[in-house]
């Protein structure tokens, strides 16, 4: 058995005889398991609720009586975003973003009914998910297990005796890395097992699970190795502990909160009221589709009359107000899309700022990786909004087209078309992004995590040389 393996084995033996360490490890493992099962349960409940609500609103829509199609445009449709399968592992921004949108004509409503707004206040402090436990609490446990790994040998002078047996500082450090590294992976094992079982049931793809396991392994190893490295460079265990706790506070607590603040200061977003006012101003500039005297729509009327070769709207073979609605929807949608695009560009700029500085805080990197793989990141939310908007436009224009084409055949002061038509309107079905689409969001955070591991690997020979000289 090599010296490094012997030293690693001794680390494990020491942990096995350290009741406080064992208890803390057992508690963390228990927490991961509890988080997994409660999170799975919550995800199933939310998914069941959404399916029920979607079925109910679909049924209500289909059950509408004969109506004027424009009434149906304003009756609208509720659409629900399904929960991504791995969102149980990392809820990401799901709890804070809305997951339901009311789709209607002329407007782009924002998503509503975020879980955090409907649940107890505790949820606002973060859901108990395996990702939360691994990202926030596991590093603390790894610090607790590793801060004294080398510094303890120095303080008790066992280091001198070890070196006197002929082992090198390099072997000693490698042994400590090995010992703490295996412990780190064992701490992640319960969560990894849950992911593998989840994949085995066919609920998610093996590729996604493998990437998730690789990402969290890198994250946990990073903390284990960092603890050993700091321990090797510190004179006393308490010095190493102070430095590591400081690093944890900066990396896990301070930077992930300070960087978004800095990004907001650098790229300011308009408030909701400011956005609404600007949007309203833009809409006023193109005119009002409901105002028959509007210059833009008068021009539009002339073009339509010329197209059909008639003199008045009453002579048109189609319902003119239906055509106006189609045109109006096209214009308002373009303005909404433009506004949303500008907003999204600013948000992207803010996110890019934060992600650039994630080299300083690998927590941002693992969080981005984890959310992207779980399908619960802001990009997935924006994807839902985009798909919902595309669906809304088609749905509203389909009703407008029904109005234009079918209404001329209907007589009377209160024209309505058959309720059978509502069944032809398609239903919203969210198509989650393919894993390959996420590759651009995965490369940088993976590079950040591997970069941190590489920096530790570069610093290790220096620390090993220092250890080798510590026999004096």
């Amino acid at each position: 058995m090599s010296a490094a393996t012997l030293i690693a084995r001794e680390e494990w033996r020491l942990l096995a005889r350290n009741r406080a360490g064992l208890l803390a490890t057992a508690l963390l493992v228990l927490l991961v398991l509890v988080a997994s099962f409660t999170s799975l349960e919550r995800r199933s409940a939310i998914e069941a609720d959404r399916e029920r609500y979607q079925a109910s609103t679909d049924h209500d829509f289909d059950a509408q009586p004969d109506r004027h199609p424009h009434r149906m445009v304003h009756y609208g449709q509720f659409v629900f975003r399904p929960v991504a399968p791995l969102a149980f592992f990392d809820a990401g921004v799901d709890s804070f973003t809305g997951n339901t949108i009311f789709l209607e004509g002329h407007r782009q409503n924002s998503a509503n009914f975020a879980e955090a707004r409907q649940s107890s206040l505790l949820l606002r402090f973060g859901q108990l998910t395996p990702a939360f436990v691994l990202q926030t609490l596991a590093p603390l446990l790894l610090i607790f297990l590793g801060f004294a790994s080398v510094a303890r040998e120095k303080e008790r002078s066992t280091l001198r005796l070890m070196l006197a047996q002929g082992i090198s500082g390099k072997s000693l450090l490698f042994g400590k890395f090995l010992g703490q590294g295996v412990l780190a992976l064992l701490i992640g094992l319960p969560a990894f097992t849950v992911l593998v079982v989840f994949a085995a049931t066919g609920s998610t793809g093996w590729g996604t699970v493998a990437l998730m396991i690789a990402a969290y392994s890198a994250w946990l190893l990073l903390w284990a190795f960092l603890s050993v490295l700091v321990s090797a460079l510190a004179q006393k265990p308490r010095d190493a502990l102070a430095v590591l706790i400081g690093l944890w506070m900066v990396i896990v607590i301070l930077l992930p909160r300070a960087l978004p603040q800095a990004a907001s200061a650098q790229t300011e977003l308009a408030t909701k009221i400011e956005s609404e006012i600007a949007l309203h101003r833009d809409l006023l500039e193109i005119g009002d589709s409901h105002d028959p005297e509007d210059p833009y729509f008068n021009d539009f009327r002339d073009k339509v009359l010329a197209q059909y070769g008639v003199d008045t709207v009453e002579d048109l073979p189609v319902d003119y107000t239906g055509l106006v609605s189609i045109e109006g929807e096209k214009l308002t949608t373009a303005i909404h899309a433009d506004s949303a695009q500008r907003q999204a560009a600013l948000e992207t700029e803010q996110n890019a700022f934060v992600h650039r500085f994630s080299v300083l805080s690998p927590l941002i990197a693992i969080r981005q990786l984890s959310m992207a793989l779980a399908g619960s990141d802001p990009t997935a939310h924006l994807d839902f909004l985009d798909q919902a908007e595309a669906f809304r436009y088609d749905f509203v224009q389909q009703l407008n087209r029904m109005q234009a084409d079918l209404l001329p055949e209907v007589e009377g002061d209160d024209p309505r078309i058959s309720a059978e038509n509502w069944k032809e309107i398609p239903r919203f079905s969210y198509q989650s992004s393919d894993r390959l689409d996420r590759s651009d969001r995965l490369v940088w955070p993976f590079a950040v995590l591997l970069g941190w591991l590489a920096v530790i690997a570069v610093a290790a020979p220096f620390a090993a040389r220092r250890i080798g000289r510590m026999g004096q």
């Binding site: 030293i7 008790r156 066992t158 026999g471």
Partner: protein
């Protein structure tokens, strides 16, 4: 005319100089130790005794001079040099959570020694540690018992050079006698022993030579007499007191 075959010294230190920062500690130390010889290095605090051991173990890079252990330079190849030596520190530092047997087994494995449990038990028996204590954790051991475990580890290594830093500190008089018997048996096996000690009585009892380290070099050396009283204890005591005052 027949010439005596050259015997390589176990330890050879020549004109060794070393300083910690601006303070010189060793100033031209010369010391040769032959296989089967026991050398007691005495001196006051700060005379350079521990630095001498650190130089032999390759823990420091001397400013000038040469150090060789069985012909190996510990600065150039510390691993190979340390494979020739066993070291017993002054403050015995072993693992509290391991038993005596587990401690020896672990450190032996670290030294890449192939010696098995028989060698460990023999060493524990030789140092006089009761067999009932072999499988007890060190957390319950007295200072003397820990010292015995450390010495047992050094013996179990079965190497040509033993470096002992205050080896009898913490041992009761009977244990000191047993320890000296162990050193005598090591001498018969051609093991070279360099012990740094304040225990003049023990040194007189077992050493072949006694050197007084004063201000970084050996100022005086006494050799054991072949017959009669091995050393003049009173004269040594006076010299030692002088060395202590000089320090």
């Amino acid at each position: 005319m027949m010439t005596e075959p050259h015997i390589q010294p176990a330890v050879e230190i020549a004109q060794l100089h070393h300083r910690y920062g601006a303070d010189p500690v060793l100033r031209g130390l010369d010391l040769i130790l032959q296989p089967g010889e026991i050398y007691a290095l005495m001196g006051g605090n700060g005379a350079g005794k521990s630095t001498t051991l650190a130089a032999l173990l390759g823990f420091i890079s001397p400013e000038s001079g040469t150090v060789q252990v069985c012909g190996i330079d510990p600065v150039a190849d510390p691993r190979a040099a340390r494979a020739q030596m066993a070291y017993v520190p002054e403050n015995v530092s072993l693992y509290e959570h391991l038993t005596a047997r587990e401690n020896i087994s672990y450190f032996l494995a670290l030294s890449d020694s192939r010696r098995g449990s028989d060698a460990i038990e023999a060493a524990l028996t030789d140092v006089g540690l009761a067999s009932s204590a072999w499988d007890k954790r060190l957390s319950g051991f007295s200072k003397g018992m820990r010292q015995k475990v450390a010495i047992a580890l050094a013996l179990a290594r079965d190497v040509p050079v033993l470096l002992l830093d205050e080896p009898t500190s913490g041992l009761d008089p009977r244990a000191v006698l047993e320890f000296n018997r162990l050193l005598d048996s090591a001498r018969k096996r051609r093991v070279a022993v360099l012990m740094v000690t304040h225990d003049l009585v023990s040194a007189v009892d077992i050493a072949d030579r006694i050197g007084f380290l004063i201000a970084g070099r050996i100022e005086e050396e006494r050799e054991a007499q072949a017959s009669g009283s091995r050393f003049d204890l009173n004269a040594l005591h006076d010299r030692y007191t002088h060395a202590e005052r000089a320090a």
